[in-house]
C-alpha cells in the first residue's frame, strides 16, 4: 500500500475509498453504499496498523490513520457528507440566509422544541416526536439528493441548513 502521505493537503475523502464507492454528485449519486464504505475503511485501516505498515514511519501511519477516520466519519453521515460535497464545489456549507428567508420554518422548529419540552414525562409522546423528526430528516435528505444530482447547489445549500436544525432536535431527543 503506497500512500501519498507527503502531500501538504489531505486527500479528497472520496478518493481515499476510490474503487469501492461511487464518485460524489453531480457525476455520481448522493447516496453511498455504506457497507462498501465500511469494508473499505476497515481493510485500509489494517494496512496502517504498526504491525502491518512495515517500514513506514509511525508518525506518518498515525496521520494517515487519522485522515482515513475523518474521511470515513464525514462520508458515512448524510449531513456531514452533504456539507463536504458543498465544500468540494467551493461552497461554504453554512448559510446565514435561513433566518431571514424562512420565518415559517423557524416557527416550525420552535414548535417542535416546545412540544419536546412539554412531553418530557411522556415516553410515548417523545417516541412519536422522534419518529416525526426522522420523517423530516428523510424528506430533507431526499431534497438534498435531488438538488445535488441536478447540480442545483443553491437549493442543496438551503436543504443542508434545514437538515442541521432537525439534526439538532435529534440530539436533544437522544439526550432525554
Amino acid at each position: 500500500f503506497h500512500s501519498s502521505s507527503c502531500q501538504s493537503e489531505a486527500k479528497n475523502f472520496y478518493k481515499q475509498f476510490e474503487g469501492d464507492i461511487s464518485d460524489p454528485p453531480p457525476k455520481g449519486p448522493f447516496d453511498i453504499d455504506l457497507g462498501a464504505l465500511k469494508s473499505s475503511y476497515l481493510r485500509k485501516m489494517k494496512t496502517l496498523h504498526p504491525d502491518v505498515a512495515q517500514g513506514k514511519d509511525a508518525a506518518l501511519a498515525q496521520r494517515d490513520s487519522a485522515e482515513l477516520s475523518k474521511a470515513y466519519n464525514t462520508l458515512k453521515a448524510p449531513l456531514t457528507r452533504a456539507e463536504y460535497i458543498l465544500q468540494l464545489q467551493g461552497i461554504n456549507p453554512v448559510s446565514e440566509d435561513i433566518s431571514n428567508s424562512d420565518p415559517e420554518f423557524l416557527m416550525e422548529i420552535m414548535d417542535v422544541h416546545e412540544n419536546i419540552s412539554a412531553s418530557r414525562d411522556s415516553p410515548e409522546k417523545l417516541l412519536q416526536l422522534s419518529q416525526e423528526n426522522q420523517g423530516r430528516k428523510v424528506q430533507e435528505i431526499n431534497e438534498i439528493r435531488k438538488a445535488m444530482e441536478s447540480s442545483n447547489w443553491d437549493s442543496a445549500l438551503l436543504y443542508v441548513n434545514r437538515l442541521r436544525y432537525w439534526n439538532t432536535i435529534d440530539k436533544i431527543l437522544h439526550d432525554l
Binding site: S99, P103, L106, M107, M110, E114, N161, Y165, T168
Partner: protein
C-alpha cells in the same frame, strides 16, 4: 462556561412569550444554521416608544440561552432606537464568550433587531395582517 453565562443559563430572566396579535408587541424569530439554535424574542412597547416588557425563548447551547437572557435585561426600559443599536460585542463582553461562541451573541443581536423591525412594521399595517407583518418584518 464563564460564571456570567452559567448565571443566565441557570437563572434565565424573562422566559416566555407575548401575544403576537397584540398591536404593541413585536416578535423576532431567528436561527443559527451553523448549530441549529433558534431564538424568539418578544417586546411590548408603550406609547412613548419604550420597551416596557420583554420575553425570550431559546433552544440551543448554554451561550445562546445566556445571550438572549442577558439581552432581555439590557433592552427593558430602552427606547426602540437604543435597542436597535445593541451590538453582539456588548453581549459577548458581558458574558465573556470565547470566539467560538460569538455567533450566539450575534443571534441575540439579530433577535432584538428583528423584534423591533416587526413591531415597527405592525405600526404601519392594520392589525388584521399580523401574519403578513411577520413575513415583511423578517424578510
Amino acid at each position: 462556561y464563564h460564571k456570567n453565562v452559567l448565571d443566565h443559563y441557570n437563572n434565565p430572566r424573562n422566559v416566555g412569550t407575548l401575544p403576537k396579535g397584540d398591536p404593541d408587541v413585536g416578535i423576532g424569530l431567528v436561527g443559527a444554521p451553523a448549530c441549529g439554535d433558534v431564538m424568539r424574542l418578544a417586546i411590548r412597547v408603550n406609547k412613548d416608544g419604550v420597551i416596557e416588557d420583554v420575553k425570550f425563548k431559546t433552544f440551543g447551547c448554554g451561550s445562546a440561552i445566556a445571550s438572549s437572557s442577558y439581552v432581555t435585561t439590557m433592552v427593558k426600559g430602552m427606547t426602540l432606537e437604543e435597542a436597535s443599536k445593541i451590538k453582539n460585542t456588548q453581549i459577548a463582553k458581558e458574558l465573556c464568550l470565547p470566539p467560538v461562541k460569538l455567533h450566539c451573541s450575534m443571534l441575540a443581536e439579530d433577535a432584538i433587531k428583528s423584534a423591533v423591525k416587526h413591531y415597527r412594521s405592525k405600526q404601519l399595517t392594520p392589525v388584521g395582517t399580523t401574519a403578513g407583518a411577520i413575513e415583511s418584518a423578517t424578510a
